[in-house]
Symmetry: C2
């Protein structure tokens, strides 16, 4: 069964067509025709069984035959990460994190960030295709990159961690610091790491310093490792 | 401190020069000069403090001043994976697995593998730079791709897992199936999955079927997730 993405299907005026990308994929690539069954998700936890009613490669029409709603997970993972200099690295982080399971990805620019611009459009496409690929019904929230100080004001999760080694005490592993079924948020610094000021701001905002393991990890590896770890303790 | 790689430093005739790549990097890129301190690892657990004695961009000479030996980890992780159709994906897996920590990566061709050729040279370079990047002293073993049946004959690890869902029983999560400080090996199938015959061969070779989580993962994501998981249970 092929999974497509069409937001707003449980809204007031549910769309009756697949997006142009999905229409092309369904009709041109997969060569699906009228009467064939497809699955469509709205990225909000709803998955629909549907039948193709118009095999148009630009506007593929479908009729919903069945609705299946998935409950959100009892925990939520939010990773806040500084975009890497090389965009591929952050794009694969997004792909992998979505495959594995993540609720929200927030980008920020740190004082030591080399990259100062991040376009979300491409990253959103990657997130959508990773959601489909891994057959999930939830599309994570993706937040535009903002300065670190502004990001801290947006944090509502109770379990707050920053991937940074404390100066004078032994490091605590995220796997030990986090407790199950929590609302987690983890801050991952840029290649140039967090500035002292940023560390202080995070501590004042009740972030706990944690380690993700014995090795020095690249920004995107650290971000994915934090996501993996929080999924595992809830497995 | 910059970490370089030069195998054979604890052998009978230890090399007195960095490789051509590392020499260029040290002298041309980093502009290091005579008398400057560097770190060199042999990839076998030995790390050497050294002084540059000849700043030659093709043959940078160094003198070892101190040796530090790291013991192998009390556990070992071996991931056996079928190369992906798109090489970037397997190269990415190798980079990330080495950063996080892995002892051995073995490639195999399954009955459903689309890719039938894999050159190790590029993958070895990626492994070396990931080892340096993450400041480790061990370079994992990388095995040439061989047919699945031949691979099974090379397995010596006691804790054996295959990422595949059993047909008639509830799946067991790798995190629950593996016990700490073990010698682990995990089989990750190609995009086309394992064949029935391969599953049978693995079961006969005492591999336990495990799941890596609720979502359908790409080959390279599954391989990295298995590696992350086995690192975490030993954290």
């Amino acid at each position: 069964m092929h999974l497509f993405y069409q937001p707003g299907l449980d809204g007031p005026n549910p769309p009756e067509y697949l997006s142009e990308d999905d229409s092309r994929h369904a009709i041109k690539t997969l060569r699906l025709g009228i009467g064939e069954l497809i699955a469509v998700t709205d990225g909000q936890g709803n998955r629909y069984a549907a039948v193709i009613t118009k095999a148009d490669a630009r506007r593929c029409a479908f009729r919903i035959t069945e609705t299946q709603t998935t409950a959100p997970r009892p925990f939520s993972i939010r990773i806040c990460v500084a975009p890497t200099k090389n965009l591929d690295r952050i794009e694969w982080f997004v792909e992998k994190a979505v495959e594995i399971g993540i609720e929200r990805i927030s980008f920020f620019f740190g004082q030591h960030s080399e990259r100062r611009v991040l376009k979300l459009e491409r990253i959103e496409k990657i997130a959508v295709s990773a959601m489909k690929q891994s057959l999930q019904s939830f599309l994570p929230i993706l937040d535009e990159a903002i300065p670190f100080g502004d990001l801290l004001k947006t944090i509502s999760e109770e379990q707050r961690f920053i991937a940074h080694l404390p100066a004078n005490e032994p490091p605590v592993h995220l796997a030990k610091a986090a407790t199950v079924n929590g609302k987690y948020t983890v801050l991952i610094g840029p290649e140039g790491d967090f500035s002292e000021k940023e560390i202080q701001q995070a501590i004042e905002a009740n972030f706990k310093m944690v380690t993700l393991g014995p090795n020095r990890l690249r920004t995107e590896t650290a971000a994915l490792t934090a996501c993996q770890l929080l999924n595992f303790i809830n497995a």
